[in-house]
Amino acid sequence: MIFLTRKAEFSSAHFYWNTAWSEEENQRVFGKCANRNGHGHNYTLEVTVAGEVDATSGFVVDLKELKDILEREVVSVYDHRHLNLEVPEFKDRIPTTENIAIAIWQRLDKKIPHAKLHRVRIYEMPDLFADYYGER
């Protein structure tokens, strides 16, 4: 078993808001992240897959193919978009770093041939990231 990690980047806007709460409660819990006009980040995505090395190709997974999957499933949907307003899974889920990691896992799960999705790591900033391993 070997692990292979591919990075991708996208830039998006978002804000944190729970519609079930009052404005005061949203401000108290989410602070400046609750600014309804939104703010943005340069996100770095790291997708780690696990598998056996193919004896003929020497690959766990074709990197070009993995790059194309990340582009199609994630980057083309998230990049230069407002996550709350333009990405369907965040209509009823707050686009926190944790929820973005889970959403990307759900987008990629079972889409990567010959390898098992091991981890989705999403950096919101260099000093903050979330990991999701598919755990319930």
Binding site: F3, Y16, N18, V29, E98, A101, D127, L128, Y132
Partner: protein
Amino acid sequence: MKAHLSRRYHFSASHRLHTETYDEAQNRAVFGKCNNPYGHGHNYTVQVTVSGQVDPATGMVCNLADLDGFARTNLLDRFDHTNLNTLECFRDKVSTTENLSIEIYRIFQSFTAAHLEGVHVEETSNNSFDYAGSATPAGGTI
């Protein structure tokens, strides 16, 4: 759903690797330039990983402001711009980054809003240490 959240903090401190157990020559032989008598310093990076169920109401494992506040009070205010050897926790221990990692893990065990997975401490860009208590550290990349 269970997710992991990692946050990186930075502080600068001086230290000297030295133990009274060894004589001067042994200290020099074991610790090399890290034993220079007047100490030296590093910009440390501490990466704290916590885990838990993502709260459906907030989308969070824990509120980052709470983790940052805890780190400010219990890590940065205590360690930043200090000489580690003068701190109570290193009175009887060499201020290696191994021992520093264990101390920082011990500190973050008191953060109760999420489960502490482990700490990763970078002393320089070329050396780093992981401590996860009795569990095996998850490691920096996997």
